[in-house]
């Protein structure tokens, strides 16, 4: 498999985008469902109730899409490429938490978020697959 072809880069970025979007929307739906729906007290029964909350259930479906798209991506891309590149989702999670869940994000947390973006960009500029044929 060529490691630097335009096709490979396009395919990798498309799948990375799907991984990020399904992860961010899935996490958001989970968080919304837990904070606004059924309460979780640590018991197995409360876990079952939480799972069938509409938002939590929707979050689980989105995260199932995340697992499959990530699995497909790992079929050709390195783990050390996939994990940092898709960590840009942390930034989107923070933004969604601040905008929709009224979570407070301190300047230090924003600085941390920026570092994560910087790390993502650095790794994203490397070849997805470093294996030698």
């Amino acid at each position: 498999m060529p490691t630097n072809s335009g096709n490979l880069i396009w395919k990798t970025r498309t799948f990375a985008a799907i991984v990020v979007v399904t992860n961010v929307t899935g996490n958001f739906a989970l968080s919304w469902g837990i904070k606004h729906g059924a309460a979780m007290d640590g018991s197995a029964w409360s876990f079952v109730r939480v799972v069938f909350d509409p938002f939590v259930f929707c979050g689980i479906l989105l995260l199932a899409g995340w697992v499959l798209s990530r699995m497909a991506l790992l079929g050709w891309a390195d783990l050390t490429y996939v994990v940092p590149v898709t960590s840009v989702g942390f930034v989107l999670n923070a933004v969604m938490g601040a905008v929709f869940l009224n979570e407070i994000i301190t300047p230090l947390r924003w600085l941390g978020t920026l570092c994560i973006v910087g790390g993502t960009v650095l790794v994203g500029r490397t070849a997805p697959n470093t294996e030698t044929p």
Binding site: L30, V50, D78, P84, A94, L101
Partner: protein, 115 residues
């Protein structure tokens, strides 16, 4: 208590990702959701990765009940460092200086988020 959940999430996430990457790299590229699902249900390392993912998921739900989403998600990024080191050692991936630098930046970001 939140950090105990974070520890469980990190350990199980690392185990899940290593198993998944190892098997997918061995198998090669897969096209189609049906083939992906079939692979997921028939290959032991992938089944193991889903078990670890389920543990991670349960701990993540518990963490969300006691912590903000803007703390919970970034804190679990600690798994990135462990995964990079173990991918180098176990999966024999070539970790270039740019990848190490990127990993370092993300780790710094996580540390800042935890302050």
């Amino acid at each position: 208590m939140p950090w105990i959940y974070v520890a469980v999430i990190v350990v199980s996430t690392v185990a899940s990702d290593l198993l998944q990457s190892w098997e997918m790299k061995r198998h090669g590229e897969v096209t189609g959701i049906g083939r992906l699902l079939k692979l997921l249900l028939t290959k032991a390392p992938l089944i193991g990765s889903i078990v670890f993912l389920a543990i991670s998921f349960y701990a993540f739900l518990a963490l969300l009940a006691v912590a903000d989403l803007s703390f919970a998600v970034p804190a679990t990024a600690l798994s990135l460092v462990a995964e990079t080191v173990l991918a180098r050692l176990l999966l024999k991936e070539q970790v270039t200086p740019a990848r190490w630098a990127g990993t370092g930046l993300v780790t710094l970001g996580v540390a800042l988020l935890a302050l």
